[in-house]
Every structure is written in structure tokens, then in C-alpha cells.
């Protein structure tokens, strides 16, 4: 399969990449790991006239601890996220999520920034971005701005990043002691993408009462969303089996569940409830240590 012909650019800085983006406009696409863009170009679902490869731009990859906030460069690969000691210690749900993306060869190349900018409705990281409260730092000609996870996912493969901007880093806030998180998915048997995936973060106080709950759902609808009803059912409660079960019943509310080859609306809504329950149970177990 041959993609349509294009011109290839390798800017050496964010500024140079931005000026190319500004000049070439709609005809250009940024290239990170290429593991979403190249398959689409091969199928000619995408036919950009210009491809701007970010591989030579310094400073876009890496993970660092900025006074408790973990900063992940957009070009950091899924494998680097999966195997990061800092993330494993401070926010293991992010590493766990990266570790179930596709397969090892995909994780060696695909990037966290590419995944979150692409916003495939069946991608894994978006659910965790919502649950863990990622912040997205975009750079444009006028400088940087930060977007919260709740404002990031706009619709089918559409996010808050402007056409003339580059997502440069992702900031993962520190979670209080007594917190735990888990991401679980029902994987598509061939691609491993999430038919439905649920990410849950909970914080418990000394008496076991949930002081904060944050739940994201991916796969079922056109974009990842926050399961507000589930969160309301958990916050302020002692998270026993029955409470979790009742709260998880709300997991498909607010999701524009799409019927497709993977299943009907009923079936996928059911998966939302089942995977939300399992993710919460696993998160609670971790919060309790």
C-alpha cells in the first residue's frame, strides 16, 4: 500500500515547526510516532501534501518530576511511559495504561502526545487523562497555553489543540496519599484497541471514606468522557461492594454510545458498567495499599 505523495520536513525546533505549520496550513500534518497517521495515509484516509516530522525537535521527549507534578514530553513513547520509574512510583495508572496499548512494537514507537492529539475514540490513554486529570500544554506562535483534560476531547478525533499549535507536554498532577487508580479495558481481539475502557482514580481518607473519585470512559462513544454520575455515587461514601456496584450503573450515562461491528449500544453500555466497576474495585484495592 502506497500513501499519496507528500513533501517531507524535519524542523529542528518547535519554532521552526510552528512556522512551517503556519505557512502550510491545512495541507500539513505533524508526524510523531506515525502509528496512527501512517496507517491512515496508507489507506488514503489521510493525504497530507506536507508531513512535518517532529523527530529532530529537541526537548520534546522525556519524563521529569516538577515539584510533584510529572511532566511528560509529547514525543515520549508508550514504552518510555510504561517503563518510567518516576511514573510507576507517583502515578502508576499512567504506566499501566501505556502498557496495554497495542503491542510491544507499537509501544516502542507510538507517543503519548500523538495518541492524545489523535484522540482515536478507542484509544486507551484518553480515559486515564480524564481520570488522572492531565493538563495539556500547547505551544503556538503566541506562546504556550494549558488545557485541562475536561476541555481537551472535543469530538470524534478532535481536540482542543489548534491547527497552528503543537502539543508539547502533558502534566500529570500529584495525587494525595491514600489514592489509587486503575485502567481496564475490553480489547478488540485483533487491534487491541479498547472496545470499552474505564479508568478510575479514588482517594480514601483514614477511615476509608472516598474524598475524591475520578472516572473516565473510552471506546464506547465518539470521544472519551468523564463519568460524572459514577463519581457522584462514590464521593463521600465508604466504598464497599454494594456502593461500587450501584455507582458503576451510571457509567454509560453521558456517553454517546455508538453501535458498530464490535457491538450494539446495549452491549457496549453494559461493558461500560462492568469495566467501570472492575476499575473502581482495583483502584480501591490500590488506595488501601
Amino acid at each position: 500500500m502506497y500513501p499519496a505523495a507528500f513533501e517531507y520536513h524535519t524542523p529542528g525546533s518547535v519554532r521552526e515547526a510552528l512556522s512551517l505549520l503556519g505557512k502550510l496550513g491545512d495541507d500539513a500534518k505533524l508526524l510523531a510516532g506515525g502509528h496512527s497517521l501512517i496507517p491512515m495515509m496508507k489507506l488514503r484516509l489521510a493525504q497530507p501534501k506536507h508531513v512535518i516530522d517532529l523527530r529532530r525537535v529537541p526537548g520534546l521527549a522525556g519524563i521529569k518530576d516538577d515539584k510533584g507534578t510529572i511532566v511528560i514530553g509529547a514525543m515520549t513513547t508508550h514504552w518510555q511511559v510504561e517503563s518510567s520509574p518516576v511514573l510507576r512510583e507517583k502515578c502508576p495508572i499512567v504506566s499501566d495504561t501505556a502498557g496495554v496499548i497495542g503491542d510491544p512494537a507499537v509501544r516502542n514507537v507510538g507517543t503519548i502526545g500523538g495518541s492524545l492529539a489523535h484522540a482515536d475514540p478507542a484509544a486507551d490513554m484518553p480515559a486515564t487523562a480524564i481520570a488522572a486529570g492531565f493538563e495539556f500544554v500547547c505551544e503556538g506562535a503566541k506562546g504556550r497555553r494549558t488545557v485541562k483534560a475536561d476541555d481537551w476531547f472535543k469530538g470524534l478525533m478532535s481536540t482542543a489543540v489548534g491547527d497552528d499549535e503543537i502539543l508539547v507536554e502533558i502534566r500529570v498532577p500529584a495525587w494525595a496519599a491514600g489514592s489509587g487508580g486503575a485502567y481496564l479495558k475490553f480489547p478488540h481481539p485483533a487491534s487491541r484497541f479498547a472496545v470499552v475502557g474505564a479508568a478510575a482514580m479514588v482517594t480514601l481518607d483514614g477511615t476509608g471514606v472516598c474524598t475524591k473519585a475520578s472516572v473516565g470512559i473510552t471506546g464506547a462513544g465518539t470521544k472519551a468522557v468523564r463519568a460524572k454520575g459514577v463519581e457522584a455515587g462514590l464521593t463521600g461514601q465508604t466504598l464497599d461492594q454494594a456502593t461500587i456496584e450501584v455507582a458503576a450503573q451510571k457509567a454509560a450515562e453521558g456517553v454517546d454510545v455508538q453501535a458498530d461491528l464490535q457491538g450494539s449500544v446495549e452491549y457496549k453500555s453494559h461493558l461500560c458498567r462492568v469495566f467501570a466497576r472492575r476499575a473502581i474495585e482495583a483502584a480501591v484495592k490500590r488506595a488501601k495499599g
Binding site: G34, P104, A105
Partner: protein
């Protein structure tokens, strides 16, 4: 417009002018002439095109050759040294890890990645890490055994 591209494949410097849209797998097979790297699905799912790039396993059907400037690449042809099979290749031989052999080059390089990161993997780890490589013949059991054979022999060789 063609662009110059230079990389090292199995220790040899390769330098050509290619169209940006030329996929790495086609560069390796058709320009360089190393046909051990296979194209199975062409949709990034089967792993038949797996190669090692800068020390990690990647799917060469999901790269443009121009992205691989200065990369160090190993294909299946580069694994045996001085006429001696690599222990992973030997494992596939010993444990009958192939039938038609179409998936085998990719399987072996995926196995290389597994053993590089986990020198003594459990069966479950091997199966999980092979998720990106499909085989229509063997049912995977003997592939797992072949990788276990290689792990044991590579460990003994190190001692």
C-alpha cells in the same frame, strides 16, 4: 521529489535517494534487496515486517524510510553471526517453532525484544509480549517453547 537517506542495515551503510512515501519495509526489500522481512497484513497488525531499529523491535511497514535517517537496523539476515544461528533461530529449529515460515522473521525479532527486556520470561509474559505477531500455522505453542529454549540457552551461554 526524492530525498537522500542513509542508514546502517546489518552493519552495512546504505544510502539511496527515495520518495518520502516509500515505506521502510519496501526500502529494505526492494531497494536494499533483503527479502527476509515480510509483508503480511500491511495494516500494522501482523508483525511479519518486524525489524530491530536502534535496539528495539518495530513494524517496518509503519515507517517511512526517510524517518530512519542514521538509524541502526537489524533484519533477520543480520542475526546469524559467522554462519552460526542466533540462539533464538536455533530455538525455532529445535522446537519446531515454524511451519510455513512466513511469520518467522518477525517472530524471531519480536522474541529478541522480549529476551532483551526480560531474559527469563514466564510463559505468560512471552504470550503477552507476542500480541503484535500473528501466526496462521503453529498455534503459537511451539513458538513459545522456542523462545523458552532460547532463554535457557542464552542464560547458560552467559554463565
Amino acid at each position: 521529489m526524492k530525498l537522500p537517506v542513509k542508514m546502517t542495515i546489518n552493519g552495512q551503510t546504505q544510502s539511496h535517494e527515495v520518495e518520502p512515501r516509500l515505506l521502510l519495509v519496501h526500502y529494505i526489500r526492494e531497494v536494499v534487496g533483503l527479502t527476509g522481512t515480510h509483508v503480511g497484513c500491511d495494516t500494522s497488525q501482523c508483525g511479519a515486517c518486524t525489524i530491530l531499529m536502534n535496539g528495539v523491535a518495530v513494524k517496518s511497514c509503519t515507517f517511512f524510510a526517510v524517518q530512519c535517517e542514521d538509524a541502526k537496523i537489524t533484519t533477520i539476515e543480520g542475526l546469524a553471526k559467522d554462519g552460526e544461528l542466533h540462539p533464538i533461530q536455533q530455538g525455532f529449529w529445535e522446537k519446531h517453532g515454524l511451519q510455513c515460515g512466513f511469520c518467522t522473521p518477525g517472530m524471531i525479532l519480536a522474541a529478541w525484544q522480549i529476551l532483551d527486556r526480560t531474559p527469563s520470561p514466564t510463559e505468560e509474559q512471552i504470550r503477552h509480549q507476542l500480541e503484535g505477531n500473528l501466526c496462521r500455522c503453529t498455534g503459537y505453542h511451539n513458538i513459545v517453547k522456542a523462545i523458552q529454549w532460547a532463554a535457557e540457552n542464552m542464560a547458560t551461554a552467559k554463565k
